[in-house]
Amino acid sequence: AQSVTQPDIHITVSEGASLELRCNYSYGATPYLFWYVQSPGQGLQLLLKYFSGDTLVQGIKGFEAEFKRSQSSFNLRKPSVHWSDAAEYFCAVGVSSGDKLTFGTGTRLAVRP
């Protein structure tokens, strides 16, 4: 069965600084990988996803993520964080034969002014 690990529970960065949120997955074949964001009082919103092809994927709100098969990782990055990026970020993995997602525990991002 597939699994996802997000090793950082909380991260604090200064506004304007770069950001990298870590995600490692476990799955025997090539997974479908996702990053979701949850702002306070909101639902989970899809930031980006990777199915195949270019291992660097661009998402909404200036986020990108890179799939590295050798490291079983799909880290989320943003070159310059804005205060509005403060939220909880979830990495998720899916498999082609089903329609369920397996999520990580999430990383809560705080942004210092």
Binding site: V4, Y32, Y36, G41, Q42, G43, L44, Q45, L46, F51, F90, A92, G94, V95, S96, G98, D99, K100, L101, T102, F103, G104, T105, G106
Partner: protein, 115 residues
């Protein structure tokens, strides 16, 4: 962007009571899901639903749980006899098509507290 609506946002109930969590999926979506997140733990898949039938369910989704689409707009999750361990945030989601390739639209969740 269209939204999935969940009500109530918070629900408090006594152990052993029945609760119904309500969701209004996006109007042209055909596939519906429930996920939940126990505080400090992962968001977990509960069930998927299509054409008035359960498509897939997790081992969490036991006989105490049921889902229903009672009319053309609502999608509900019922817990017949709540337990303390059912306390969690419950997320409803919907999509146009099936499979992980389809974009899931999530609601903002219902926080269920079982006392």
């Amino acid at each position: 962007e269209p939204e999935v609506t969940q009500t109530p946002s918070h629900q408090v109930t006594q152990m052993g009571q029945e609760v119904i969590l309500r969701c209004v999926p996006i109007s042209n979506h055909l596939y519906f899901y429930w996920y939940r997140q126990i505080l400090g733990q992962k968001v977990e898949f509960l069930v998927s639903f299509y054409n008035n039938e359960i498509s897939e369910k997790s081992e969490i989704f036991d006989d105490q749980f049921s889902v229903e689409r009672p009319d053309g707009s609502n999608f509900t999750l019922k817990i017949r006899s709540t337990k303390l361990e059912d306390s969690a945030m419950y997320f409803c989601a919907s999509s146009e098509g099936s499979g992980v390739g389809e974009k899931l639209f999530f609601g903002s969740g219902t926080q269920l507290s079982v006392l």
